[in-house]
C-alpha cells in the first residue's frame, strides 16, 4: 500500500511537471531524482514486452548497450549503458507487476517504470530514478545529468511501441 502510494505520488507529480518526454531532476542533499513521462499511443502490453525483453533492448534503445539476464521478479540483471560504457551495473528486479510497474536497482539507486492505460489506445509511461545515500554529497557532482538519457529512452520507447502498434491489420 505504501509502495503504491509512493508510485502514485511520483506519477502524479511527474505527469504534472514532465510532459511529452521532457525530463525533470530534483536535487536534494542526500539524493537526486530524475523523471520523465511520455504519452505513448500503444497498448501497454506492447510497451511492457519491450521493457521486459532484456536481449532486445539494444535494438530499439540507444541508451542501452546490453542487458544480460532475465527481467522478472527477484531476478538479477547486468546492464551496460551508453552513459557509462565501461561500467556494468548489477541490478536486482525489485518490482514486477505485469503491464503496470517494473523496478530495478542496486544499493545506490532504484529505477521505476510505470505504465498507466489511459484508454483509447494511449498509455502513459513514467520513468523515475532516485539515486543517493549517506555518502551522496561526496560523489554527487561526479554523476552526470540523466536528463538527456531519460528523454532519449522515452523517445526510443515511444517510437518503437507506436511502430509496433501501427502494424497494418
Amino acid at each position: 500500500m505504501k509502495r503504491l502510494f509512493t508510485v502514485l505520488t511520483i506519477m502524479i507529480s511527474t505527469m504534472a511537471m514532465a510532459q511529452n518526454g521532457k525530463a525533470i531532476t530534483e536535487k536534494k542533499t542526500f539524493s537526486r531524482t530524475t523523471s520523465v513521462s511520455a504519452e505513448i499511443k500503444a497498448d501497454p502490453a506492447i510497451i511492457w514486452k519491450l521493457l521486459t525483453s532484456a536481449l532486445d533492448y539494444p535494438r530499439w534503445n540507444t541508451t542501452v548497450i546490453s542487458i544480460e539476464g532475465t527481467i522478472a521478479a527477484g531476478e538479477k540483471i547486468r546492464l551496460k549503458s551508453t552513459m557509462a560504457p565501461k561500467r556494468t551495473f548489477k541490478l536486482k528486479v525489485k518490482e514486477f507487476e505485469n503491464e503496470k510497474c517494473l523496478a530495478w536497482g542496486d544499493g545506490q539507486g532504484t529505477r521505476i517504470y510505470t505504465l498507466v492505460n489511459k484508454g483509447k489506445g494511449i498509455t502513459t509511461f513514467v520513468m523515475n530514478e532516485k539515486i543517493g545515500g549517506f555518502m551522496f554529497p561526496m560523489y554527487a557532482k561526479h554523476i552526470p545529468s540523466f536528463d538527456a538519457s531519460f528523454e532519449q529512452f522515452a523517445a526510443d520507447l515511444k517510437k518503437e511501441a507506436e511502430t509496433i502498434q501501427n502494424t497494418r491489420k
Binding site: 500503444a42 497498448d43 502490453a45 506492447i46 514486452k49 502498434q165 502494424t167
Partner: protein
C-alpha cells in the same frame, strides 16, 4: 454446417494447411499427420463451429494448436542452420547422389533459385521463437489479418503485432548478414552454389536478376526486401511446385541434421 459442405471446404483449404504445417515443422510426415488430425478433430467438433470466424480461421486454429503440441519439446534451429546443413551434405556423398537421382527421375526436380529462396526462408524461420514464426507465416504468407491471427493463436492483437514486428526485425537482421543475393557482403552463397551444381550451363547472375528481390536489392530498404522475399514464399506451394521433390529432399536432410545437432 453439414458434413458434406465441411468436407468440400476442407478439401479446398488442405493445400494451404499442408504447406503451412510443412513450413512450421519442416517435416512432410508431421505436416501430413497434423493435417489428418486437424480433419479428425474438426469433424468431431463440427457441431461447435458457430461461424464466428471463417472456417479457414477455425481450421488453422486447430492445426496451430496441434503444431504447437508437436513442437513443444523440440528446440529451435540456430540462425546458421544452412551453413551447418551444407557442411553435413558435403560430408555425406549419399545426399548429392539422392538429389541427382531425384533430378533424373522426378518431374518436380527443377532447381529454381526462387524455390531455394523459399526453402531457405523456411529453414531460417525455425530459428525464431515459435510465436514469432507462426505470426509471420500466418500474416505474410497465408494472409490472415491480425485479428484472425489473434484468434488462431489465442493471443491479444497487441501481442500478435509485437511478435510480427520482432519476427520481421530478426529475419531482416539475419538475411542482411547472410544473403549474398541482397547484400554483396553476405556470407551465404548457397543459391549460386547449388544453381552451379544443378544447372551448370546456366549463368547465375543472369537468372538471379530476374527475381525482383535481387533486382531491387540495392535500391529498396530492408523492410521491402523482406516483403519481396516473403512474396516469393507466398507464391510457392512447396508440395506442388516444379522443384518440390528436390526441395523436400533438402528439407528432410536439414531436419535430420538439426535433430542431431540441437
Amino acid at each position: 454446417m453439414t458434413t458434406e459442405l465441411f468436407n468440400e471446404e476442407f478439401k479446398g483449404i488442405t493445400g494451404q494447411l499442408r504447406s503451412y504445417l510443412l513450413r512450421i515443422t519442416a517435416s512432410v510426415h508431421d505436416a501430413e499427420d497434423i493435417v489428418h488430425d486437424t480433419y479428425i478433430r474438426a469433424s468431431e467438433k463440427l457441431h461447435t463451429f458457430r461461424g464466428e470466424s471463417s472456417l479457414k480461421t477455425w481450421l488453422f486454429t486447430i492445426a496451430s494448436n496441434l503444431v504447437k503440441d508437436n513442437l513443444r519439446a523440440k528446440k529451435r534451429w540456430p540462425e546458421n542452420v544452412t551453413d551447418i546443413c551444407k557442411a553435413a551434405a558435403h560430408s555425406n556423398p549419399q545426399f548429392f547422389e539422392e538429389a541427382m537421382q531425384i533430378k533424373a527421375t522426378s518431374t518436380q526436380a527443377a532447381f529454381e533459385i526462387k524455390e531455394h529462396i523459399a526453402f531457405c526462408f523456411t529453414c531460417i524461420s525455425k530459428s525464431l521463437p515459435l510465436e514469432q514464426q507462426l505470426c509471420l507465416f500466418l500474416k505474410e504468407v497465408y494472409e490472415f489479418k491480425v485479428s484472425e491471427i489473434a484468434t488462431i493463436l489465442d493471443l491479444s492483437e497487441a501481442m500478435v503485432k509485437y511478435y510480427l514486428h520482432m519476427g520481421r526485425a530478426k529475419m531482416i537482421e539475419i538475411f542482411d548478414g547472410r544473403c549474398a543475393i541482397i547484400n554483396k557482403e553476405g556470407i551465404c552463397h548457397q543459391c549460386s552454389e547449388l544453381n552451379g551444381h544443378y544447372n551448370p550451363k546456366q549463368k547465375f547472375q543472369e537468372e538471379v536478376i530476374k527475381i525482383e528481390m535481387a533486382k531491387e536489392a540495392q535500391t529498396v530498404g530492408k523492410e521491402q526486401l523482406l516483403d519481396l522475399r516473403m512474396k516469393i514464399v507466398n507464391e510457392i506451394d512447396p508440395f506442388e511446385s516444379g522443384a518440390a521433390a528436390l526441395q523436400l529432399h533438402h528439407l528432410e536432410h536439414n531436419r535430420n541434421v538439426m535433430e542431431k545437432y540441437v
